[in-house]
């Protein structure tokens, strides 16, 4: 009961913040979508971090650590520590400058103007939206699962908040927050959310360490000395090719529409300075305790039916109910922080890239565009909610879709890099890369569904170029993940098709490269 009350108080607080943000808002799209480009350094950091951290950072990381061991940290967290701040530093700052100078509010509006194109921008929009929607659905599913898990009580573990109600609570609170407050409401809530889940890991480790019957070193020693569990404290079962391939995945971060839109919202470019330095430290603060506790769970709890729930089980078993409630709120924070940005990003994209671009803004004006955006938020959340309910048992499909989406967004990074740094890049290069990425994703999805582990898809001599690995995923030569050929393939498409097509006008190139580039001599 106590965890539920704590979480409900927290959810009510979020809804109140959204309504306060409404009182500060102005009825124009720049204010609604970007908080009038007025976000200061601290809020910018807390928000951009919340944007990118989903429930996976807490629940998924500990669940994967329970299954695969400590290697998960290097695989996913430390590679993100390296790549994400670099992309924010080199790409995000320039995106901010271009948005400020030319009034762009989405990546697509930048691409359209930079490459003097129209429908090609719509193709990029369609691919981005298609890859973002499963992400949003799984956020609602995650919220429903967490709320039902932390409200479970009694000997039969019956949840006080059933899954359907949990999904509804998350959907309603996120919708209220975004609907009323837009970007301003979302980033204000992020201050609370990010602070909560940044503290989550350290508090959880401290509390659990006091409650465990043995010390940390005893559990780790036990795992290391047993040949059956030794792999959990090493990386002996983790293929080096996969470990290296994973360094490409965080390239997706800057291509997520919600991340790019956050970059547009900063008041000054100097806000990026603290953000890029603090970002790896924040990843460390969340992922290290969660991965450690996931591995510890393997020793302390033994075999459990749902490894993704390892952290929740440890909290329920080893912490006081009120603390479990606060820590549960930390997990819900991670879910809702990213979900709110995804909903807002989809609304921004539809309103600016489709509604406004195809004449809606001229016809209906600025105020009605905001109404359209708000209506869109309600509709898209309702759809996501009903999909989350009707396909609860098929959650795995969306998890797979997100895996595809990460590779897809990572493979779109060369398009953004070309737009910002290569004068000679063209809209045809961008279109070729986008179609290549879309085709690759469809091919991988169809191939994985129709082949079994061990099948060879393409062989050159004795070398297996593409094959199905034991997990059932398509793998590239020597076991590399498909994100590797996708990123290189996309880059090749941009270069080749750009070289063989007409560049944008010199005036456009001058406008863009006056704004962002270092002089070459």
């Amino acid at each position: 009961m106590i965890p539920v009350i704590v979480v409900l108080i927290y959810l009510a607080l979020i809804a109140v913040i959204g309504s306060v943000a409404l009182s500060k808002s102005r009825e124009n799209t720049e204010d609604f979508f970007l908080a009038n480009r007025s976000i200061g350094p601290l809020v910018f950091f807390l928000s951009i971090f919340a944007t990118n951290m989903t429930a996976f950072a807490i629940l998924g990381s500990s669940g994967q650590a329970y299954r695969q061991g400590i290697g998960i940290y290097g695989l996913m967290a430390s590679s993100s520590c390296f790549v994400i701040p670099l992309t924010i530093f080199f790409i995000g700052t320039r995106l901010w400058a271009l948005g400020k100078k030319f009034g762009h509010q989405t990546q697509v509006s930048f691409f359209r103007d930079r490459w003097e194109c129209n429908h090609i921008g719509t193709v990029i929009f369609a691919l981005s939206a298609a890859m973002l929607v499963p992400y949003m659905i799984i956020s609602i599913m995650g919220g429903g699962t967490v709320l039902s898990n932390i409200s479970a009580s009694g000997p039969d573990h019956q949840p006080m908040i059933p899954y359907a109600w949990g999904c509804a609570v998350v959907a309603v609170v996120v919708t209220l927050n975004v609907f009323l407050g837009g970007m301003r409401g979302t980033v204000w809530v992020n201050i609370l959310q990010t602070t909560l889940f940044l503290c989550f890991g350290a508090v959880a480790v401290a509390v659990i360490s006091h409650a465990l019957p043995l010390g940390f070193s005893d559990y780790m020693g036990k795992l290391a000395s047993d040949p059956k569990t030794k792999f959990l404290v090493t990386r002996e079962k983790m293929p080096a090719a996969v470990f290296w391939s994973y360094t490409f995945i965080p390239l997706s971060s800057i291509m997520f529409p919600h991340m790019a839109i956050m970059c547009f919202s900063a008041k000054k470019v100097t806000a990026f300075k603290q953000t890029v330095i603090a970002y790896p430290l924040a990843i460390l603060a969340i992922w290290l305790p969660c991965v450690f506790l996931g591995v510890l769970g393997a020793a302390a709890l033994g075999k459990i039916p749902d490894p993704d729930g390892v952290l929740l089980q440890m909290l329920n078993k080893y912490t006081a109910p009120w603390l479990a409630g606060i820590l549960g709120a930390g997990i819900i924070s991670a879910v809702m922080g990213s979900d709110a940005h995804q909903v807002l990003a989809l609304s921004t994209m539809f309103t600016k890239d489709i509604f406004a671009h195809y004449g809606g803004h001229e016809k209906f004006g600025e105020k009605k565009s905001v109404h359209f955006a708000r209506g869109f938020i309600v509709v898209v959340t309702l759809i996501a909610y009903f999909v989350a309910l009707s396909l609860k048992e098929k959650q795995g499909i969306f998890e797979i879709a997100i895996r595809y989406a990460f590779s897809g967004f990572a493979a779109m990074a060369p398009v953004m890099i070309a737009a910002q740094f290569w004068k000679r890049s063209t809209k045809w290069g961008a279109l070729a890369a986008t179609l290549f990425v879309a085709t690759a994703l469809i091919w991988i999805a169809v191939t994985q569904a129709s082949h079994k582990p061990g099948d060879v898809l393409w062989q050159l001599g004795a070398n297996k170029v593409f094959f199905i690995n034991p997990r059932g995923d398509v793998s590239f030569w020597n076991g590399f993940m498909t994100v590797v050929p996708m990123v290189f393939g996309s880059a090749i498409c941009v270069v080749l098709f750009s070289l063989f097509s007409r560049p944008p006008s010199q005036a456009t190139i001058d406008r863009y490269f006056e704004t962002t580039s270092y002089a070459s001599n």
Partner: protein, 94 residues
């Protein structure tokens, strides 16, 4: 290729920021070195010694690596910050 338009590849604005070639080389070397350090093959099968008595070496190394990436970013902010972007002003097309 359509050569109807010739591309002017000269720098267009004299006021643009310039990065010293030495600094540029330093930045590239730093980033490559930190990237290479991520692939710590020597820790792959090591389960001991446990740092502070409980952190396995592979996890301790990557925790340290995360701190090092923060240091790398601090260095980049110091030596390669795109200062010219700070003076960006609004200039919408329409």
């Amino acid at each position: 290729m359509d050569d109807g338009q010739k591309l002017n590849t000269k720098p267009t604005v004299a006021a643009r920021a310039r990065m010293n070639p030495g600094v540029c080389l330093f930045v590239v070397v730093l980033i490559v070195a930190v990237y290479v350090a991520h692939q710590d093959s020597w820790n792959w099968t090591k389960s001991e010694p446990l740092l502070f008595g409980f952190l396995p070496p592979g996890l301790a190394y990557h925790a340290g690596y995360s701190l090092w990436t923060a240091v790398m970013m601090a260095i980049l902010v110091r030596v390669a910050w795109p200062k010219h972007l700070e003076s960006t002003e609004e200039n919408p097309r329409e």
